[in-house]
Symmetry: C2
């Protein structure tokens, strides 16, 4: 399955959530990671993130799809991605 | 077609890009909007955004898919969305 993860968390937790997420997914833009994940790995990612965030303040969205083939990606401007990695 | 738009732009342009994007899509989280769009409207959105951004600094990603049915959305923490609108 293919997962796109977007997050909006308190500044204090940005580095930690990114560290967790980058174990599973590829960073593509500030607050956005994506990649192929097994269902098991996806569950682990969610568990780790849920333990970290403040449920009342932070927001994390996972768009889960069968594969990368279900969408077309179009980018404008700089293609940041892992090489232009800034967190 | 269903479009998820994520953007990472210079602070100076955040308000403007959001103003443009909210004409076409629903704000769901900081730097993330999504919604149904006709191909024509999608082209207009891209044109307006491309005129605004600095190609060498800003980054905008459009995930374009046939419909919302191709993905499952899972959220952790707060569901921000238009009512909890903060830009």
């Amino acid at each position: 399955m293919y997962v796109i993860m977007v997050y909006d968390v308190n500044e204090k937790r940005v580095a930690k959530i990114l560290k967790i997420a980058r174990k599973y997914l590829k960073w593509v833009q500030n607050s956005v990671l994506e990649g192929e994940l097994s269902p098991g790995k996806y569950e682990k990612l969610k568990l780790e993130v849920s333990r970290l965030i403040d449920e009342k303040e932070d927001s994390v969205r996972f768009y889960v799809m069968d594969s990368q083939k279900v969408f077309n990606l179009e980018t404008l401007g700089v293609e940041k991605g892992e090489d232009g990695f800034i967190f």
